[in-house]
Subunit: 253 residues, 2 copies
Protein backbone atom coordinates (compact mmCIF):
# COMPACT_ATOMS: atom_id res chain seq x y z
CA UNK A 1 0.00 0.00 0.00
CA UNK A 2 1.54 3.31 -1.03
CA UNK A 3 1.67 6.33 1.27
CA UNK A 4 -0.87 8.00 -1.03
CA UNK A 5 -3.53 5.32 -0.52
CA UNK A 6 -6.92 6.65 0.46
CA UNK A 7 -7.50 6.92 4.22
CA UNK A 8 -11.12 6.15 5.06
CA UNK A 9 -12.56 8.31 7.81
CA UNK A 10 -15.65 8.30 9.99
CA UNK A 11 -17.39 10.44 12.59
CA UNK A 12 -19.67 9.30 15.41
CA UNK A 13 -22.67 11.24 16.67
CA UNK A 14 -23.83 10.16 20.15
CA UNK A 15 -27.43 11.28 20.71
CA UNK A 16 -28.92 11.54 24.16
CA UNK A 17 -29.73 13.86 27.05
CA UNK A 18 -28.70 11.06 29.43
CA UNK A 19 -25.07 11.24 28.26
CA UNK A 20 -24.95 15.07 28.29
CA UNK A 21 -26.44 15.20 31.79
CA UNK A 22 -23.78 12.83 33.13
CA UNK A 23 -26.42 10.33 34.30
CA UNK A 24 -25.27 7.63 31.87
CA UNK A 25 -21.62 6.80 31.20
CA UNK A 26 -21.10 6.51 27.44
CA UNK A 27 -19.59 3.21 26.32
CA UNK A 28 -20.25 3.48 22.59
CA UNK A 29 -17.38 5.81 21.66
CA UNK A 30 -14.73 3.25 22.62
CA UNK A 31 -16.52 0.27 21.06
CA UNK A 32 -17.29 2.04 17.78
CA UNK A 33 -13.70 3.36 17.68
CA UNK A 34 -12.19 -0.10 18.04
CA UNK A 35 -14.58 -1.67 15.53
CA UNK A 36 -13.86 1.07 12.97
CA UNK A 37 -10.12 0.57 13.31
CA UNK A 38 -10.51 -3.16 12.69
CA UNK A 39 -12.42 -2.25 9.52
CA UNK A 40 -9.58 0.01 8.37
CA UNK A 41 -11.52 3.22 9.02
CA UNK A 42 -10.24 6.12 11.18
CA UNK A 43 -12.58 7.69 13.71
CA UNK A 44 -11.77 11.39 13.33
CA UNK A 45 -14.40 13.13 15.45
CA UNK A 46 -17.17 12.42 17.92
CA UNK A 47 -20.00 14.77 18.83
CA UNK A 48 -22.45 14.24 21.67
CA UNK A 49 -25.71 16.16 21.35
CA UNK A 50 -29.06 16.42 23.11
CA UNK A 51 -32.43 14.97 22.06
CA UNK A 52 -33.08 18.01 19.85
CA UNK A 53 -34.11 17.55 16.21
CA UNK A 54 -32.47 20.74 14.98
CA UNK A 55 -29.15 20.09 16.74
CA UNK A 56 -29.07 16.48 15.55
CA UNK A 57 -29.91 17.42 11.95
CA UNK A 58 -27.25 20.15 11.81
CA UNK A 59 -24.61 17.82 13.27
CA UNK A 60 -25.55 15.02 10.85
CA UNK A 61 -25.16 17.30 7.85
CA UNK A 62 -21.83 18.70 9.05
CA UNK A 63 -20.36 15.25 9.77
CA UNK A 64 -21.73 13.18 6.87
CA UNK A 65 -20.27 15.70 4.43
CA UNK A 66 -16.86 15.78 6.08
CA UNK A 67 -16.24 12.01 6.34
CA UNK A 68 -16.70 8.81 4.36
CA UNK A 69 -19.00 7.44 7.04
CA UNK A 70 -21.10 8.74 9.89
CA UNK A 71 -22.39 6.53 12.69
CA UNK A 72 -25.02 7.56 15.22
CA UNK A 73 -26.00 5.89 18.49
CA UNK A 74 -29.17 6.46 20.49
CA UNK A 75 -32.71 7.69 20.04
CA UNK A 76 -34.22 4.88 17.95
CA UNK A 77 -36.47 3.28 20.58
CA UNK A 78 -40.26 3.44 20.91
CA UNK A 79 -40.73 6.45 23.21
CA UNK A 80 -41.44 10.15 22.60
CA UNK A 81 -37.80 11.11 23.24
CA UNK A 82 -36.60 8.82 20.41
CA UNK A 83 -36.32 11.32 17.58
CA UNK A 84 -33.19 10.28 15.70
CA UNK A 85 -35.08 9.01 12.62
CA UNK A 86 -37.06 12.25 12.34
CA UNK A 87 -33.89 14.32 12.70
CA UNK A 88 -32.00 12.36 10.06
CA UNK A 89 -34.94 12.53 7.65
CA UNK A 90 -34.89 16.30 8.19
CA UNK A 91 -31.15 16.39 7.54
CA UNK A 92 -31.64 14.57 4.22
CA UNK A 93 -34.80 16.53 3.34
CA UNK A 94 -36.93 13.40 2.95
CA UNK A 95 -40.12 12.22 4.70
CA UNK A 96 -40.25 9.50 7.34
CA UNK A 97 -41.91 6.32 6.07
CA UNK A 98 -42.69 2.89 7.51
CA UNK A 99 -40.22 0.33 6.14
CA UNK A 100 -42.23 -2.81 5.18
CA UNK A 101 -39.41 -5.22 6.08
CA UNK A 102 -38.85 -3.50 9.44
CA UNK A 103 -42.57 -3.79 10.15
CA UNK A 104 -42.49 -7.50 9.29
CA UNK A 105 -39.44 -8.01 11.56
CA UNK A 106 -41.20 -6.29 14.46
CA UNK A 107 -44.46 -8.22 13.90
CA UNK A 108 -42.54 -11.49 14.00
CA UNK A 109 -40.38 -10.46 16.99
CA UNK A 110 -43.37 -9.30 19.06
CA UNK A 111 -45.72 -12.14 17.98
CA UNK A 112 -44.79 -14.06 21.14
CA UNK A 113 -44.30 -10.88 23.20
CA UNK A 114 -47.78 -9.33 23.23
CA UNK A 115 -47.93 -8.24 19.59
CA UNK A 116 -47.03 -4.91 18.00
CA UNK A 117 -48.60 -1.68 19.16
CA UNK A 118 -48.26 1.93 18.01
CA UNK A 119 -45.11 2.49 20.08
CA UNK A 120 -43.42 -0.66 18.78
CA UNK A 121 -44.29 0.25 15.20
CA UNK A 122 -42.43 3.56 15.72
CA UNK A 123 -39.32 1.41 15.41
CA UNK A 124 -40.26 0.55 11.79
CA UNK A 125 -40.06 4.23 10.79
CA UNK A 126 -37.08 5.19 8.59
CA UNK A 127 -36.03 8.14 6.45
CA UNK A 128 -37.38 7.47 2.93
CA UNK A 129 -34.76 5.57 0.91
CA UNK A 130 -33.09 3.89 3.90
CA UNK A 131 -32.01 0.25 4.28
CA UNK A 132 -31.99 -1.86 7.43
CA UNK A 133 -29.14 -3.09 9.64
CA UNK A 134 -29.87 -6.42 11.34
CA UNK A 135 -30.43 -6.52 15.11
CA UNK A 136 -30.46 -10.17 16.19
CA UNK A 137 -30.68 -9.17 19.88
CA UNK A 138 -33.92 -7.24 20.21
CA UNK A 139 -35.72 -7.11 16.86
CA UNK A 140 -35.87 -3.41 16.06
CA UNK A 141 -33.32 -2.90 13.28
CA UNK A 142 -30.63 -0.28 12.77
CA UNK A 143 -30.82 1.88 9.67
CA UNK A 144 -28.45 2.89 6.87
CA UNK A 145 -29.28 6.12 5.06
CA UNK A 146 -26.65 7.11 2.53
CA UNK A 147 -23.34 7.06 4.39
CA UNK A 148 -25.07 7.37 7.78
CA UNK A 149 -25.38 4.27 9.96
CA UNK A 150 -27.99 4.62 12.68
CA UNK A 151 -27.34 2.32 15.65
CA UNK A 152 -29.06 1.70 18.99
CA UNK A 153 -27.87 3.49 22.12
CA UNK A 154 -27.82 0.42 24.37
CA UNK A 155 -24.19 -0.72 23.97
CA UNK A 156 -24.96 -4.46 23.76
CA UNK A 157 -27.45 -3.84 20.94
CA UNK A 158 -25.11 -1.42 19.15
CA UNK A 159 -22.44 -4.14 19.32
CA UNK A 160 -24.68 -6.65 17.50
CA UNK A 161 -25.46 -4.08 14.80
CA UNK A 162 -21.72 -3.49 14.32
CA UNK A 163 -21.26 -7.26 13.99
CA UNK A 164 -23.91 -7.23 11.25
CA UNK A 165 -21.86 -4.56 9.42
CA UNK A 166 -18.48 -6.27 9.83
CA UNK A 167 -16.69 -6.67 6.51
CA UNK A 168 -19.38 -4.76 4.61
CA UNK A 169 -17.88 -1.27 4.50
CA UNK A 170 -15.02 -0.24 2.26
CA UNK A 171 -11.92 0.60 4.29
CA UNK A 172 -8.14 0.58 4.22
CA UNK A 173 -5.63 -0.85 6.64
CA UNK A 174 -6.08 -0.83 10.42
CA UNK A 175 -3.68 1.19 12.50
CA UNK A 176 -1.45 -1.10 14.53
CA UNK A 177 -0.84 -0.01 18.14
CA UNK A 178 2.13 -1.21 20.19
CA UNK A 179 2.42 -0.10 23.81
CA UNK A 180 5.59 0.25 25.87
CA UNK A 181 5.20 1.18 29.52
CA UNK A 182 7.72 2.51 32.04
CA UNK A 183 7.77 3.81 35.59
CA UNK A 184 9.09 7.10 34.27
CA UNK A 185 7.73 10.62 34.69
CA UNK A 186 6.61 11.88 31.28
CA UNK A 187 8.65 15.01 31.82
CA UNK A 188 11.84 12.96 32.28
CA UNK A 189 11.48 11.20 28.93
CA UNK A 190 9.76 13.86 26.81
CA UNK A 191 12.91 14.67 24.81
CA UNK A 192 13.69 10.99 24.29
CA UNK A 193 10.14 10.37 22.97
CA UNK A 194 10.34 13.28 20.56
CA UNK A 195 13.68 12.03 19.20
CA UNK A 196 12.38 8.51 18.65
CA UNK A 197 9.24 9.79 16.92
CA UNK A 198 11.28 12.09 14.67
CA UNK A 199 13.45 9.09 13.71
CA UNK A 200 10.38 7.14 12.54
CA UNK A 201 8.35 9.00 9.90
CA UNK A 202 4.74 7.80 9.65
CA UNK A 203 4.79 6.65 13.26
CA UNK A 204 2.95 8.55 16.03
CA UNK A 205 3.85 8.09 19.70
CA UNK A 206 1.27 9.02 22.32
CA UNK A 207 2.25 9.38 25.98
CA UNK A 208 -0.34 8.56 28.68
CA UNK A 209 0.61 9.03 32.32
CA UNK A 210 -0.71 6.83 35.10
CA UNK A 211 -0.28 6.26 38.83
CA UNK A 212 -0.08 2.66 40.06
CA UNK A 213 0.54 1.50 43.62
CA UNK A 214 1.78 4.98 44.48
CA UNK A 215 4.32 5.03 41.63
CA UNK A 216 4.04 7.31 38.62
CA UNK A 217 4.64 6.13 35.10
CA UNK A 218 3.43 6.39 31.54
CA UNK A 219 2.41 4.17 28.66
CA UNK A 220 3.84 5.11 25.30
CA UNK A 221 1.57 3.99 22.48
CA UNK A 222 3.16 3.66 19.05
CA UNK A 223 0.70 3.81 16.15
CA UNK A 224 1.42 3.04 12.51
CA UNK A 225 -0.29 1.33 9.55
CA UNK A 226 2.74 -0.97 9.30
CA UNK A 227 3.08 -3.47 12.12
CA UNK A 228 6.74 -3.92 11.26
CA UNK A 229 7.53 -0.21 11.52
CA UNK A 230 5.57 0.04 14.77
CA UNK A 231 7.58 -2.88 16.21
CA UNK A 232 10.89 -1.32 15.06
CA UNK A 233 9.96 1.95 16.74
CA UNK A 234 8.89 0.16 19.93
CA UNK A 235 12.22 -1.70 20.00
CA UNK A 236 14.22 1.52 19.66
CA UNK A 237 12.09 3.23 22.33
CA UNK A 238 12.61 0.31 24.75
CA UNK A 239 16.39 0.42 24.15
CA UNK A 240 16.57 4.19 24.70
CA UNK A 241 14.45 3.96 27.86
CA UNK A 242 16.81 1.26 29.19
CA UNK A 243 19.87 3.42 28.36
CA UNK A 244 18.25 6.24 30.34
CA UNK A 245 17.80 3.93 33.32
CA UNK A 246 14.09 3.05 32.97
CA UNK A 247 12.88 -0.52 32.64
CA UNK A 248 10.57 -0.75 29.59
CA UNK A 249 7.55 -3.00 29.95
CA UNK A 250 6.31 -4.55 26.70
CA UNK A 251 2.59 -4.12 26.13
CA UNK A 252 2.34 -1.29 28.65
CA UNK A 253 1.17 -1.30 32.24
CA UNK B 1 -37.07 32.73 38.54
CA UNK B 2 -39.16 33.57 35.47
CA UNK B 3 -39.35 31.31 32.42
CA UNK B 4 -37.41 33.98 30.52
CA UNK B 5 -34.39 33.86 32.81
CA UNK B 6 -31.08 33.38 31.01
CA UNK B 7 -30.04 29.75 30.57
CA UNK B 8 -26.25 29.43 30.81
CA UNK B 9 -24.76 26.92 28.41
CA UNK B 10 -21.42 25.20 27.92
CA UNK B 11 -19.65 22.87 25.52
CA UNK B 12 -16.86 20.41 26.27
CA UNK B 13 -14.00 19.59 23.90
CA UNK B 14 -12.23 16.32 24.72
CA UNK B 15 -8.79 16.28 23.10
CA UNK B 16 -6.89 13.07 22.55
CA UNK B 17 -6.00 10.32 20.08
CA UNK B 18 -6.30 7.82 22.93
CA UNK B 19 -10.04 8.45 23.28
CA UNK B 20 -10.69 8.42 19.52
CA UNK B 21 -8.75 5.16 19.10
CA UNK B 22 -10.85 3.46 21.78
CA UNK B 23 -7.75 2.67 23.85
CA UNK B 24 -8.84 4.90 26.74
CA UNK B 25 -12.40 5.06 28.09
CA UNK B 26 -13.38 8.72 28.54
CA UNK B 27 -14.55 9.59 32.05
CA UNK B 28 -14.47 13.37 31.78
CA UNK B 29 -17.74 13.90 29.89
CA UNK B 30 -19.83 12.56 32.77
CA UNK B 31 -17.87 14.35 35.51
CA UNK B 32 -17.83 17.71 33.73
CA UNK B 33 -21.55 17.31 32.93
CA UNK B 34 -22.49 16.72 36.55
CA UNK B 35 -20.28 19.54 37.82
CA UNK B 36 -21.72 21.99 35.28
CA UNK B 37 -25.28 21.11 36.27
CA UNK B 38 -24.44 21.76 39.92
CA UNK B 39 -23.15 25.19 38.85
CA UNK B 40 -26.43 25.94 37.01
CA UNK B 41 -24.88 25.58 33.55
CA UNK B 42 -26.25 23.26 30.82
CA UNK B 43 -23.80 21.09 28.90
CA UNK B 44 -25.18 21.36 25.36
CA UNK B 45 -22.56 19.64 23.21
CA UNK B 46 -19.40 17.58 23.47
CA UNK B 47 -16.83 17.09 20.73
CA UNK B 48 -13.95 14.63 20.85
CA UNK B 49 -11.08 15.41 18.50
CA UNK B 50 -7.59 14.15 17.74
CA UNK B 51 -4.23 15.65 18.71
CA UNK B 52 -4.33 17.94 15.67
CA UNK B 53 -3.76 21.68 16.06
CA UNK B 54 -6.00 22.69 13.16
CA UNK B 55 -8.91 20.48 14.21
CA UNK B 56 -8.64 21.62 17.84
CA UNK B 57 -8.46 25.32 16.89
CA UNK B 58 -11.48 25.08 14.56
CA UNK B 59 -13.52 23.26 17.19
CA UNK B 60 -12.54 25.77 19.89
CA UNK B 61 -13.67 28.70 17.75
CA UNK B 62 -16.98 27.04 16.81
CA UNK B 63 -17.81 26.11 20.40
CA UNK B 64 -16.57 29.18 22.32
CA UNK B 65 -18.71 31.37 20.10
CA UNK B 66 -21.85 29.26 20.46
CA UNK B 67 -21.87 28.91 24.27
CA UNK B 68 -21.25 30.93 27.41
CA UNK B 69 -18.42 28.60 28.39
CA UNK B 70 -16.14 26.08 26.75
CA UNK B 71 -14.18 23.48 28.68
CA UNK B 72 -11.38 21.36 27.25
CA UNK B 73 -9.74 18.25 28.68
CA UNK B 74 -6.45 16.73 27.63
CA UNK B 75 -3.21 17.67 25.93
CA UNK B 76 -1.60 19.93 28.56
CA UNK B 77 1.19 17.64 29.76
CA UNK B 78 4.94 17.85 29.06
CA UNK B 79 5.30 15.65 25.96
CA UNK B 80 5.38 16.37 22.22
CA UNK B 81 1.76 15.23 21.77
CA UNK B 82 0.51 17.85 24.27
CA UNK B 83 -0.51 20.62 21.89
CA UNK B 84 -3.70 22.05 23.39
CA UNK B 85 -2.11 25.35 24.46
CA UNK B 86 -0.65 25.91 21.00
CA UNK B 87 -4.02 25.13 19.37
CA UNK B 88 -5.95 27.47 21.64
CA UNK B 89 -3.44 30.26 21.11
CA UNK B 90 -3.93 29.74 17.37
CA UNK B 91 -7.72 29.84 17.83
CA UNK B 92 -7.44 33.20 19.63
CA UNK B 93 -4.75 34.52 17.27
CA UNK B 94 -2.27 35.20 20.09
CA UNK B 95 1.26 33.91 20.77
CA UNK B 96 2.17 31.31 23.37
CA UNK B 97 4.05 32.80 26.34
CA UNK B 98 5.50 31.48 29.58
CA UNK B 99 3.24 32.49 32.49
CA UNK B 100 5.51 33.69 35.34
CA UNK B 101 3.23 32.39 38.10
CA UNK B 102 2.90 28.99 36.40
CA UNK B 103 6.69 28.83 36.14
CA UNK B 104 7.01 29.66 39.85
CA UNK B 105 4.43 26.97 40.74
CA UNK B 106 6.32 24.36 38.71
CA UNK B 107 9.70 25.37 40.16
CA UNK B 108 8.29 24.98 43.67
CA UNK B 109 6.44 21.72 42.89
CA UNK B 110 9.51 20.10 41.29
CA UNK B 111 12.07 21.50 43.79
CA UNK B 112 11.87 18.24 45.75
CA UNK B 113 11.25 16.13 42.62
CA UNK B 114 14.45 16.61 40.61
CA UNK B 115 13.90 20.23 39.59
CA UNK B 116 12.35 21.69 36.45
CA UNK B 117 13.58 20.78 32.99
CA UNK B 118 12.58 21.87 29.49
CA UNK B 119 9.69 19.37 29.33
CA UNK B 120 8.31 20.40 32.71
CA UNK B 121 8.53 24.07 31.78
CA UNK B 122 6.32 23.30 28.74
CA UNK B 123 3.52 23.17 31.33
CA UNK B 124 4.06 26.88 32.14
CA UNK B 125 3.19 27.86 28.54
CA UNK B 126 -0.16 29.61 28.07
CA UNK B 127 -1.91 31.61 25.33
CA UNK B 128 -1.00 35.27 25.90
CA UNK B 129 -3.57 36.88 28.20
CA UNK B 130 -4.55 33.69 30.02
CA UNK B 131 -5.05 33.15 33.76
CA UNK B 132 -4.31 30.02 35.78
CA UNK B 133 -6.63 27.43 37.34
CA UNK B 134 -5.20 25.84 40.50
CA UNK B 135 -4.12 22.18 40.44
CA UNK B 136 -3.43 21.10 44.02
CA UNK B 137 -2.84 17.48 42.92
CA UNK B 138 0.10 17.62 40.55
CA UNK B 139 1.40 21.19 40.24
CA UNK B 140 0.89 22.01 36.57
CA UNK B 141 -2.05 24.43 36.49
CA UNK B 142 -5.12 24.55 34.28
CA UNK B 143 -5.68 27.66 32.19
CA UNK B 144 -8.53 30.10 31.59
CA UNK B 145 -8.45 32.00 28.30
CA UNK B 146 -11.52 34.17 27.77
CA UNK B 147 -14.50 31.84 28.22
CA UNK B 148 -12.35 28.74 27.59
CA UNK B 149 -11.31 26.60 30.57
CA UNK B 150 -8.41 24.28 29.81
CA UNK B 151 -8.32 21.24 32.09
CA UNK B 152 -6.08 18.18 32.40
CA UNK B 153 -7.06 14.92 30.71
CA UNK B 154 -6.36 12.68 33.71
CA UNK B 155 -9.81 12.56 35.36
CA UNK B 156 -8.56 12.86 38.96
CA UNK B 157 -6.60 16.01 38.07
CA UNK B 158 -9.49 17.47 36.03
CA UNK B 159 -11.70 16.90 39.09
CA UNK B 160 -9.42 19.01 41.30
CA UNK B 161 -9.38 21.81 38.71
CA UNK B 162 -13.20 21.76 38.65
CA UNK B 163 -13.17 22.01 42.46
CA UNK B 164 -10.95 25.07 42.12
CA UNK B 165 -13.59 26.62 39.82
CA UNK B 166 -16.60 25.72 41.97
CA UNK B 167 -18.78 28.76 42.68
CA UNK B 168 -16.66 31.02 40.47
CA UNK B 169 -18.66 30.93 37.22
CA UNK B 170 -21.91 32.75 36.64
CA UNK B 171 -24.78 30.32 36.19
CA UNK B 172 -28.48 29.83 36.75
CA UNK B 173 -30.40 27.09 38.47
CA UNK B 174 -29.43 23.41 38.28
CA UNK B 175 -31.78 21.00 36.57
CA UNK B 176 -33.34 18.66 39.11
CA UNK B 177 -33.58 15.01 38.03
CA UNK B 178 -36.01 12.56 39.60
CA UNK B 179 -35.95 8.93 38.45
CA UNK B 180 -38.81 6.44 38.50
CA UNK B 181 -38.04 2.87 37.44
CA UNK B 182 -40.34 0.03 36.43
CA UNK B 183 -40.07 -3.48 35.04
CA UNK B 184 -42.04 -2.36 32.01
CA UNK B 185 -41.17 -2.56 28.32
CA UNK B 186 -40.72 0.99 27.01
CA UNK B 187 -43.10 0.18 24.19
CA UNK B 188 -45.86 -0.75 26.67
CA UNK B 189 -45.71 2.62 28.44
CA UNK B 190 -44.72 4.96 25.61
CA UNK B 191 -48.19 6.52 25.30
CA UNK B 192 -48.49 6.90 29.07
CA UNK B 193 -45.11 8.70 29.19
CA UNK B 194 -46.07 11.05 26.40
CA UNK B 195 -49.35 11.93 28.14
CA UNK B 196 -47.66 12.64 31.47
CA UNK B 197 -45.02 14.81 29.79
CA UNK B 198 -47.66 16.75 27.84
CA UNK B 199 -49.50 17.39 31.15
CA UNK B 200 -46.37 18.98 32.69
CA UNK B 201 -45.02 21.89 30.60
CA UNK B 202 -41.36 22.64 31.30
CA UNK B 203 -40.73 19.07 32.35
CA UNK B 204 -38.82 16.60 30.14
CA UNK B 205 -39.11 12.84 30.65
CA UNK B 206 -36.35 10.60 29.29
CA UNK B 207 -36.84 6.85 28.99
CA UNK B 208 -33.82 4.55 29.36
CA UNK B 209 -34.29 0.80 28.95
CA UNK B 210 -32.26 -1.79 30.85
CA UNK B 211 -32.10 -5.53 31.40
CA UNK B 212 -31.57 -6.79 34.96
CA UNK B 213 -31.51 -10.40 36.11
CA UNK B 214 -33.12 -11.43 32.83
CA UNK B 215 -36.01 -8.95 33.20
CA UNK B 216 -36.50 -5.93 30.99
CA UNK B 217 -37.43 -2.55 32.33
CA UNK B 218 -36.78 1.14 31.98
CA UNK B 219 -35.87 4.13 34.09
CA UNK B 220 -37.88 7.28 33.47
CA UNK B 221 -35.90 10.40 34.31
CA UNK B 222 -37.88 13.55 34.95
CA UNK B 223 -35.90 16.78 34.52
CA UNK B 224 -37.02 20.27 35.45
CA UNK B 225 -35.52 23.44 36.97
CA UNK B 226 -38.19 23.25 39.68
CA UNK B 227 -37.77 20.40 42.14
CA UNK B 228 -41.43 20.75 43.14
CA UNK B 229 -42.68 20.38 39.57
CA UNK B 230 -40.32 17.43 38.98
CA UNK B 231 -41.68 15.73 42.11
CA UNK B 232 -45.30 16.39 41.06
CA UNK B 233 -44.63 14.87 37.65
CA UNK B 234 -42.87 11.84 39.20
CA UNK B 235 -45.84 11.30 41.49
CA UNK B 236 -48.31 11.35 38.62
CA UNK B 237 -46.10 9.03 36.56
CA UNK B 238 -45.85 6.56 39.44
CA UNK B 239 -49.65 6.60 39.90
CA UNK B 240 -50.29 6.05 36.19
CA UNK B 241 -47.74 3.23 36.04
CA UNK B 242 -49.46 1.56 39.02
CA UNK B 243 -52.87 1.96 37.33
CA UNK B 244 -51.41 0.25 34.26
CA UNK B 245 -50.24 -2.67 36.41
CA UNK B 246 -46.54 -1.79 36.76
CA UNK B 247 -44.88 -1.30 40.13
CA UNK B 248 -43.03 2.04 40.12
CA UNK B 249 -39.68 2.11 41.89
CA UNK B 250 -38.71 5.50 43.31
CA UNK B 251 -35.20 6.60 42.39
CA UNK B 252 -35.00 4.15 39.50
CA UNK B 253 -33.36 0.76 39.26
Amino acid sequence: MSEEAKVWTAALLVIGDEILSGRTQDLNVAQVARWLNDEGIRLREVRIVADDIGQIARSVNALRGAHDYLFTTGGIGPTHDDITVDAIAEAFGVPVVVHPQARAILEEYYASRGGVNEARLRMARVPQGAELIANPLSGAPGIRMGNVHILAGVPSIAARMLEALTGKLEGGRPVVSVAVGAFAAESDVAELLRTVQDDHPGVAIGSYPFAKDGRFGANFVIRCESGERAADCAGELARKLAEAGFEAIEGGI
